[in-house]
């Protein structure tokens, strides 16, 4: 099975073959023999050329988070076949000159510091979110006009929820 992975901007083609009790993993042209023990769904023990790696892998749809010896890696990875299919279908998608202030974590809206139509400077406080006893003032990253306020004071919000849109 072939996969396309990206790491630090570079794209790698990786082929995985199960071979008897070992896995063969070919990264670009280099071949690695890997002795794999899956301990739990996300914990693996790999032996590669005698070197032992205790590795935690949490996989999302198109990306894996990998932890090895305390180092964390975020590796976007997809099956090559699926990726080609998707690429053929996906429309272009871009939008500029717009700031979306979203909740960095789940929390409660403590105070909204701006009103719709108000102009803001880069760095001005826009909204105050509280989670786990810490208040965080979210700031505008550039100048603009407040277009939309999607929340109310006192309301709970999920992580990633859009709070304020500035244009």
């Amino acid at each position: 099975m072939a996969f396309i992975a990206t790491y630090e901007g570079k794209e790698y083609k990786i082929e995985v073959t199960e071979k008897g009790s070992l896995f063969q993993v070919k990264i670009d042209e280099e071949l690695h023999e890997v002795d794999v023990l899956q301990v739990t769904e996300s914990l693996y023990s790999f032996l590669i050329g005698g070197r032992s790696y205790e590795t935690d892998v949490v996989g999302g749809e198109d990306s894996c988070s990998v932890l090895i010896g305390g180092e964390a890696f975020e590796v976007p990875i997809s099956e090559e076949r699926k990726l080609r299919l998707r690429a053929a279908l996906k429309p272009g998608e871009a939008r500029a000159g717009r700031q979306v202030i979203s909740a960095p974590m789940p929390g409660t809206i403590v105070k909204i510091l701006v009103a719709p139509g108000e102009t803001v400077k880069a760095g001005s406080g826009v909204i105050v979110v509280e989670a786990m006893k810490m208040q965080n003032e979210l700031k505008a990253t550039g100048p603009g006009t407040v277009k939309e306020i999607r929340v109310e004071e006192g309301r709970g919000v999920d992580g990633g929820a859009v709070l304020v849109v500035i244009e």
Binding site: M1, F3, A5, Y7, Y12, I14, V16, S21, L22, F23, V25, I27, H32, V34, D35, V36, L37, Q38, T40, E41, S42, L43, Y44, F46, I48, Y53, T55, D56, V57, V58, G59, C64, V66, L67, I68, G69, G70, E71, A72, F73, V75, I77, S78, E79, P104, M105, P106, G107, V110, G125, V128, E130, A131, M132, K133, M134, Q135, N136, E137
Partner: protein
């Protein structure tokens, strides 16, 4: 001895107190909010009662409800842990009136030391130097006026408690209004009291504190210092004992100052006198923490004394079991606070579910945890999930062990401060003991992206094998696995898929 103790707290400190009670064979009562039914302290206690909705003002700060549970269960004493009601003199007073022993100082001693005004007045009286600043609870206007007189930078602090909550450093007039608002609001939600005051902000001091124990008969001893200068957002993250800069003579002088302060205020039970120590090794009294501290384990490990048990014995009216000359520091201990926070994103809280957990073990390592695999760290409370402590023959060995333990510690599903601690424990200045309270914010450079990344290739291999196995499982219809009596069918499936080699 008490026939039953109620623990008016949650998470790792509630578990810590329950462990002490179990060792003393005293039954325990836990209280919990509606969000905390799955918390470990509910399982560990002998009894457990729900006291209200998740917000702490309606549960862990609801004095009446807690007293009600204590009476219903005939608990003879209440241990407040730290935070919540631990330094609330009104609560200590309420316990006294209800005939329940509050495990901590008397409400009177708490009022004297809890009001920074009287604590600082007292310090001056007994000849202990203090940091310049006001001590009254100030109005917004008074804060502005004091700042103008004193000159920036200033520090706004919550009158009601510590731990960096409600604290703001202000460098200029423009920042003042929003800093006051934020400080009051945090103070209010953390301690139920929006009162604030102002202090001169010293340049590059060390934050060093003295642990004391005093009994109800006026005897007070000190148990050595803790170095607490490694802070971010004025909140301690790494503590150690002894401090790398304290000489036996300075320890004795600071210890005696701490004892003098405690005696002058009629203080009893465990407590901490916080000091700032200057670059020329002058020390200034800062405030009293009239409770057990988060970082108490480092003192326990170098003195060999279980502070929670001593608290209970003192509260029960026992005389101190140690004289000053019995207190001997052995080796060195260091604590790393493991928070559910993202160190690569400005320490944003990272609540959520812990999918995987592997705790460190082996020689010299102590993990004071309040979580378990499958536990969901709730939004509502302080994000401290565990305190990792290492002891060594000397500071070097304690650091070696802490590095080893941090490498063993894996928490999956949420972000934690473990990677941050690993970086600090490799910083040359930190290793030399050359730091101050501004270290993290000014001198410590986060090497997030610059690290060696030795395992990049293995990461690619791991990602590919994981993706391969996921695809394979998705394609092949899962074989009918007869689930065993216990255990995860995932593991079984993986086995049957032939993933387990040799």
């Amino acid at each position: 001895m008490f026939k039953k103790i109620l623990i008016a707290n949650r998470g790792e400190i509630a578990v810590r107190v329950i462990r002490a009670c179990r060792e003393m064979e005293i039954p325990t009562v836990a209280v919990y909010s509606e969000a905390d039914r799955p918390s470990l302290h509910v399982r560990y206690a002998d009894e457990a009662f729900c006291i209200g909705p998740p917000p702490s003002t309606e549960s862990y700060l609801a004095m009446d409800k807690i007293i009600e549970v204590a009476k219903k269960t005939q608990a003879e004493a209440i241990h407040p842990g730290y935070g919540f009601l631990a330094e609330n003199a009104a609560f200590a007073g309420l316990c006294e009136r209800e005939g329940i022993t509050f495990i901590g100082p008397s409400s009177k001693a708490m009022r004297v030391t809890g009001s920074k005004t009287s604590a600082r007045t007292l310090a001056k009286e007994v000849g202990v130097p203090v940091v310049p600043g006001t001590t009254h609870d100030l109005t917004d206007e008074e804060v502005a006026q004091t700042a103008a007189e004193m000159g920036y930078p200033i520090l706004i602090k919550a009158a009601g408690g510590g731990g960096g909550k409600g604290m703001r450093i202000v460098a200029s007039d423009e920042e003042l209004t929003s800093a006051i608002r934020a400080a009051r609001s945090e103070a209010s939600s953390s301690f139920g009291d929006p009162a604030i005051y102002v202090e001169k902000y010293l340049q590059r001091p060390r934050h060093i504190e003295m642990q004391i124990l005093g009994d109800k008969y006026g005897d007070v001893i000190y148990l050595g210092e803790r170095e607490c200068s490694i802070q971010r957002r004025h909140q301690k993250v790494i503590e150690e004992s002894p401090s790398p800069i304290i000489t036996p003579d300075l320890r004795r002088r600071m210890g005696e100052a701490a004892v003098a302060l405690a005696k002058a205020s009629g203080y009893n039970n465990a407590g901490t006198m916080e000091f700032l120590v200057d670059q020329d090794r002058s020390f200034y009294f800062l405030e009293v923490n009239a409770r057990l501290q988060v970082e108490h384990p480092v003192t326990e490990m170098v003195t060999g004394i279980d502070l929670v048990k001593e608290q209970i014995l003192i509260a029960a009216g026992e005389k101190l079991r140690y004289r000053q000359e019995d207190i001997k520091l052995r080796g060195a201990a260091i604590e790393c606070r493991i928070y559910a926070e993202d160190p690569d994103n400005n320490f944003m809280p990272s609540p959520g579910k812990i999918w995987g957990l592997r705790s460190p073990g082996g020689p010299g390592v102590r993990d004071e945890s309040g979580v378990y695999e499958g536990y969901e760290v709730p939004l509502y409370y302080d994000p401290l999930i565990s305190k990792l402590v290492a002891w060594g023959r000397d500071r070097e060995e304690a650091l070696e062990r802490m590095r080893r333990a941090l490498r063993e510690y894996v928490i999956q599903g949420i972000k934690t401060t473990i990677p941050f601690h690993r970086r600090v424990l490799e910083d040359p200045d930190f290793l030399k003991g050359d730091f101050d309270t501004t270290f993290i914010e000014t001198r410590f450079t986060e090497r997030v992206a610059t690290g060696a990344r030795r395992h990049q290739e293995v990461a690619l291999i791991a990602a590919a094998i994981h993706a391969y196995l996921k695809e394979k499982r998705a394609e092949v219809p899962r074989p009918q696995v007869t689930a065993p009596a216990t255990g995860s069918p995932w593991k079984m499936a993986a086995r049957q898929d032939g993933l387990r080699r040799r």
